[in-house]
């Protein structure tokens, strides 16, 4: 369907929905690289105006990637909850933004309508939202998930402890793990990005993490972030797998580039559920996403990178994840050029994921060839803290020595807790207190703690 806006004597014409969505998107490097951006600033606003007039119902009939050739499109259409959508069915995208900002859209209502929203509806409304709208709306969404502790409760924020090491050295990993725990991090997950992809090496790391957890009775979940097929093999071998990790994208072709499809995710999900390792809940999938992943695989079908990203959330949503992490600045400046683009993308990802009912966290990060620095990350960290992000990443000194990029540090998380009063998952907070590492509010020095002998187990 052709979409048209007339501004004075100038008539703007957008050939189809995906073109309209792309042209309405705030400019970013990946869309410029793909040749999808508006030709002028005026054309962008014209596209936003046309988009604002579009009924939400239209998204159920015009798909951006064909149903016949893409299983993500099929998932979106086939799992759409018409009953949940009914209260919004009369709205345009512009009305939808107004409704989201209104007092009517409270936490309970937003959770109730989430199954009725498609990724494209959510992407569309986010393109009409300023950064403050993205913060305000996300803050109203509450997504609570559970495995061995409770994530996403109001006024709380988790941290993924990321103790990576370039050669997966057990002592090196244990040292970073100790550092993080002593700083009160690790409630979201203790998750290692392994350098190796050999199943034996991964198994060794799984046993290392599970050994520490059991020895100190830590109410936490662990994960070694390897390919879903490797995790499945390790489950069959009897390894202690808490969470199943996988990177996911918003088109079938991009997922094929990751070597996955929905059936494989389903199989791994079932296998991990059968282990019954969660103590307070059974959310056990951990997904990572990031704008630009479909384009970098040449699998974006002419769809802008932010819309592709929100489609990845439809994949994630299907498996009731514990954690979804948008690794926003990792992909590099070809997709998000500078701090401004990274900040905007992170706020979009967080808000769109939350609107779809996902437990969104963010790897607030950048690479050394992006036009960004620690100040940009401080700004984004503060914004996401205000927006109610479920979790952030914690890496020693913000420097990931395995992946070669900068994320947030344990200190950064403490800063956010200090200025916003954000607390940890309640079970984990109790554990820290029982170990005399915290007085319930602030960290204690921990000298003499039995945890200091953690590395001996490695």
């Amino acid at each position: 369907m052709v979409h048209v806006t007339t501004l004075g004597s100038r008539r703007y014409r957008f050939a189809d929905l995906k073109t309209l969505l792309a042209k309405a998107t705030p400019s970013r490097a990946g869309d410029r690289l793909a040749g999808l951006v508006a030709a002028s600033a005026e054309e962008r606003v014209a596209a936003q105006m046309a988009l604002a007039e579009l009924p939400l119902r239209h998204f159920l009939s015009e798909l951006v990637v064909p149903y016949e050739t893409d299983e993500v499109s099929r998932l979106i259409v086939d799992s759409h909850d018409a009953q949940a959508f009914a209260p919004l069915a009369h709205l345009t995208v512009g009305d939808f933004r107004d409704w989201l900002l209104s007092g009517q859209a409270d936490s309970v209502t937003l959770a109730a309508v989430a199954p009725g929203l498609t990724p494209e509806m959510v992407a569309a409304v986010s393109k009409l939202m300023r950064n403050q709208d993205l913060v305000l709306v996300a803050r109203k969404c509450q997504v609570v998930t559970r495995f061995r502790n409770t994530q996403g409760l109001p006024g709380r924020m988790g941290v993924r402890l990321q103790p990576n090491h370039p050669t997966d050295d057990a002592r090196g990993i244990a040292a970073a793990l100790l550092d993080g725990l002593m700083y009160g991090a690790g409630d979201a997950v203790v998750g290692i990005n392994p350098a190796s992809d050999s199943p034996d090496d991964i198994a060794r790391l799984l046993h290392l993490l599970d050994g520490v957890r059991q020895r100190y009775a830590i109410p936490m979940q662990s994960c070694v972030l390897t390919h879903v097929t490797t995790t499945l093999e390790l489950i069959r071998r009897g390894c202690p797998v808490d969470l199943v990790f996988q990177s996911v994208a918003g088109t079938e072709a991009a997922n094929a580039g990751f070597g996955i499809n929905l059936a494989m995710l389903g199989e791994a999900h079932e296998a991990a559920l059968a282990l019954g390792r969660g103590s307070v809940g059974d959310n056990l999938m951990y997904f990572e996403t990031g704008q630009g992943s479909a384009l970098s695989a040449g699998a974006h079908h002419g769809v802008d990178q932010q819309t592709c990203e929100v489609r990845a959330y439809a994949v994630a949503r299907h498996f009731r994840p514990l954690l979804v992490n948008t690794v926003v600045g990792f992909i590099g400046p070809e997709y998000l050029y500078d701090g401004r683009e990274i900040i905007r993308a992170a706020l979009e990802d967080h808000c769109c994921g939350k609107l779809l009912g996902l437990p969104m966290g963010c790897d607030i990060c950048y690479t050394n060839h992006a036009e960004a620095d620690q100040n940009d990350m401080d700004t984004l960290l503060t914004l996401l803290g205000v927006a109610g992000v479920n979790f952030i990443i914690g890496v020693p000194g913000a420097d990931d020595i395995m992946l070669g990029y900068q994320s947030t540090s344990f200190h950064d998380a403490l800063y956010l807790r200090e200025v916003l009063g954000l607390r940890r998952a309640p079970e984990f907070e109790d554990w820290l207190q029982s170990m005399a590492l915290s007085d319930g509010q602030r960290l204690l020095p921990g000298a003499g703690s039995t945890l200091l002998r953690l590395a001996e187990a490695a």
Partner: protein
């Protein structure tokens, strides 16, 4: 009063687990000022980031590199990718993978009749500093073995605003049967000068990463020159026989000669992930 001020001056809370630092180069046990990074640590991070940024934006000093390579006895050619400057290079990887029109014609004119066995391209990539520091030394370690085994060598090609795949076009134009790209990797905070080595058999335009083999993190504190040269020689021989790419698995590290060399020059510190394409 004086005592109070002295106490204020030592407001950094040190961490009780600083001994763990011997097990990792990760920034652990940094201590806290309140909940924040102590001044010393925040400046140390800033310095490392500054060096990495300078490495990304530093230009390849062509005359200096040419001087450093003069002793190798190979003709030198300079080329430029289709990305005119760094800002464009960073946002348009497609242009960094393509020769500029004038560089392409210059190379065509210089192509050796009948081609050659191997061409080396030295590309700035994301760290010109890495190429300038390590490429000449790696070549010094490698060329004697290649010459002993009778490989015919094409010119050394120095490429600016280059991505890995640019080498394939250079190799195709020069009729190289094997192309080796030596290129600056994306700088990490602790490694602003890490060199990547990419090998393509039968190079041509349009190949994907899957068609290449990679040796990452070549630098004195990572994979040392003799070990990198040994690995590269191993891959060159294997790729001449079986072709390059994901099907070719680097088996050099299991060889007795490699282990003997490793015993002399030391173990690799760890590569992390290759970080450029």
């Amino acid at each position: 009063m004086k005592q109070d001020i002295l106490r204020l001056c030592t407001a950094v809370a040190e961490d009780a687990w600083s001994a763990e630092r011997q097990h990792t180069v990760a920034r652990i046990a940094l201590g806290r000022s309140g909940v924040s990074l102590p001044t010393r640590q925040t400046l140390s991070f800033a310095l490392d980031h500054a060096r990495a940024r300078d490495a990304v934006h530093g230009e390849l000093d062509m005359p200096a590199l040419a001087r450093a390579l003069a002793g190798l006895g190979l003709p030198l050619l300079q080329v430029h990718s289709a990305a005119p400057d760094r800002a464009c290079y960073l946002q348009r990887p497609d242009l960094g993978r393509k020769l500029s029109a004038s560089s392409r014609s210059a190379l065509l004119a210089a192509a050796p009749a009948g081609g050659c066995d191997v061409v080396f391209v030295l590309g700035d990539g994301l760290s010109a500093r890495a190429v300038a520091s390590h490429a000449p030394r790696l070549l010094e370690a490698l060329l004697p073995a290649l010459r002993r085994e009778g490989w015919s060598l094409g010119p050394l090609v120095l490429a600016s605003q280059a991505r890995v795949a640019l080498g394939d076009e250079v190799g195709a134009v020069l009729g190289a049967r094997m192309l080796v790209m030596l290129i600056g990797e994306r700088p990490g905070l602790s490694s602003p000068d890490s060199l990547g080595v990419y090998l393509t058999a039968a190079p041509r335009v349009g190949l994907s990463d899957a068609a290449r083999n990679c040796i990452s993190n070549v630098r004195p504190d990572g994979l040392s020159y003799p070990l990198a040269a040994y690995k590269l020689m191993w891959l060159l021989r294997a790729a001449r026989r079986d072709g390059s790419g994901v099907a070719l698995k680097d088996g050099s590290a299991a060889e007795a000669a490699y282990l003997a060399l490793q015993a002399v020059v030391g173990v690799q510190q760890g590569a992390g992930k290759p970080v450029i394409s």
